[in-house]
């Protein structure tokens, strides 16, 4: 059987590919488990200093595989809360708590949870032909995987509400214009562009980047006072890293720093 997740490390970048192309990389339990393992491995491996998440084939991820849902009339209704608690919520936390940058290369349609998984990543690139859809409302469901949290923060409440209530498709260029993603690029250039940014990040002070990510993850829930306090704590920790020492030394020596991610 084909692996539902491909995992490969090159030059400090873990490339994780959702690999159920025939189902537009929609999730079944097996893919959830494999993705969880891959992210865990990327986090634990010190040689990995950036993660790139993308999809095989023409889609990025179509969210939940609805073929897995038993909702025939008469049959007992599936408990959707259970799969969210078991798979989707831990996945979103795993991505956002990953102390290394996670880049999404959205190669095609990102629908439902698939869109929200992309938004959980730190920097999102999308191919010109890709699109984002909060499809949940069309089948009577609520956007999950952090959608209702992240989308209003990315594009504001007015746009987030309309998108979630109407289920309209957003093109990659519209998504860029609205600030929903970092950059929309030509289809052919997508992987190369995302990979070169991932490669760059893999040479940077990984711990420091992890702290930046941490601070930003908390900024919308903290008061200014609490956030200032958090910045102090994180700066104290960052100031104890080898990479900070190297950064300062390289600055005074007028040479390029060589960061180790420690």
């Amino acid at each position: 059987m084909e692996e539902s997740i491909l995992f490969q490390v090159e030059a400090g970048v873990a490339v994780i590919t959702l690999n159920r192309p025939k189902q537009l990389n929609s999730f079944n339990p097996e893919m959830h488990k494999a993705l969880k393992r891959a992210l865990k491995q990327a986090e634990a491996d010190d040689s990995v200093r950036a993660v790139l998440l993308t999809g095989a084939g023409r889609g990025f991820c179509a969210g939940q595989d609805l073929n897995d849902r038993n909702v025939n009339s008469g049959a007992e209704m599936a408990d959707l809360g259970e799969s969210i608690e078991k798979y989707y919520n831990p996945l979103i936390k795993q991505i956002s708590n990953m102390p290394k940058p996670v880049i999404a290369a959205v190669n095609g349609v990102a629908a439902g949870a698939g869109a929200n998984i992309a938004f959980a990543c730190d920097i999102v690139f999308a191919a010109q032909s890709a699109s984002f859809i909060q499809a949940f409302c069309k089948i009577g469901l609520v956007p999950d995987s952090g959608g209702t949290w992240v989308l209003p923060r990315l594009i504001g409440s007015a746009r987030a509400k309309a998108l979630m209530l109407l289920g309209d498709k957003v093109t990659a260029s519209q998504a860029q214009e609205w600030g929903m993603i970092w950059q929309c690029v030509e289809d052919e250039a997508l992987i190369e562009t995302a990979m070169s940014v991932a490669n760059h990040l893999a040479t940077q002070p990984t711990k420091g980047l992890g702290f930046i990510k941490h601070a930003l993850n908390h900024s919308s829930e903290n008061s200014l006072d609490d956030q200032l306090n958090m910045e102090k704590d994180l700066q104290r920790l960052a100031g104890q890293t080898d990479d900070y020492r190297e950064g300062i030394a390289a600055f005074f020596d007028k040479r390029a720093p060589e960061f180790k991610g420690k």
Binding site: N97, F211, H214, M230, D233, L234, R236, L237
Partner: protein, 262 residues
């Protein structure tokens, strides 16, 4: 030099400012609180009580674990009579009698006896991702070292009942909201934060700190009327101390006070 003794399961370290840091170190047992650990902890705290160079103490369990509970191997072999005659309640009492400020720096898990130890501390700081719980019920037993009593007085009835009866843990954020802990920080910073608080306390007048802790500790034990009487007595007692005169004078002179513990 005191506190350089290394117990097999605890490490001690005292800072120049008089902060004693006690680190639980039985990682292979997830810092399980056996009778030995509790008795070593009691010994250290008793020694620290009498040592005027110790101003405050921090209990820490490491970056990924505080204490996962009691030692189940130790407990499983005990029948009713042995349990009744067990010295354990006395050990808890000895720890509870420590008269200097005790701060818990908690990461990972504080479960069962681990949470009961947390509940004995005056101030609790926790890392994000820490889980607090009393899972005793899932083993067919119940908390036996203050879990039901101190937790209910700390977080209120409904949450305490939920935690004790379901055995399911709560997050650091929920613990913060419910008053179980006073600070949440990034896990690598938990010890720093606790030591920062302990150091601040260590700079205060020792007798005033001791009297204030005594007054605070009495809160659950009596009526408000009794508490107010005792508070006033302790307050009056401090009027006799040199440090009080020094504290007020230094404030009026706009200089830093020098406390002598007299």
């Amino acid at each position: 030099m005191p506190f350089q003794t290394e117990y097999p399961d605890l490490k001690c370290d005292i800072s120049n400012q008089g902060v004693l840091t006690i680190t639980l170190s039985r990682p292979q047992k997830r810092n399980a609180l056996s009778n030995d650990v509790l008795s070593h902890l009691a010994e250290i705290l008793e020694e620290a009580s009498l040592d005027s160079s110790v101003k405050s103490a921090v209990i820490y369990g490491g970056e990924s674990m505080f204490a996962a509970g009691a030692d189940l191997h130790e407990m499983s072999s005990q029948q009713s009579i042995e349990t009744w005659l067990n010295p354990r309640p006395k050990l808890w009492q000895r720890i509870d009698q420590f008269e200097k400020p005790l701060i818990a720096a908690v990461n990972g898990y504080a479960l069962g006896a681990g949470l009961e130890l947390v509940l004995l501390c005056d101030v609790v700081v926790a890392g994000e991702g820490t889980l607090f719980g009393l899972p005793e019920i899932t083993l067919g037993l119940m908390p036996g070292a203050g879990g039901t009593q101190r937790l209910a007085r700390t977080v209120g009835k409904s949450l305490a009942n939920q935690m004790v009866l379901t055995g399911q843990p709560i997050s650091a954020q929920k613990a913060l909201n419910s008053g179980l802990i006073s600070e949440v920080t990034i896990a690598q910073n938990t010890l720093n934060k606790a030591q920062e608080i302990a150091t601040t306390i260590a700079q205060r007048a020792p007798l005033a700190v001791r009297a204030a802790k005594t007054s605070l500790k009495s809160v659950p034990n009596g009526t408000l009327g009794q508490g107010l009487v005792m508070e006033r007595q302790l307050f009056s007692l401090l009027a006799e101390t040199q440090d009080r005169a020094e504290g007020i004078q230094a404030f009026l002179d706009k200089r830093k006070a020098t406390f002598k513990g007299k």
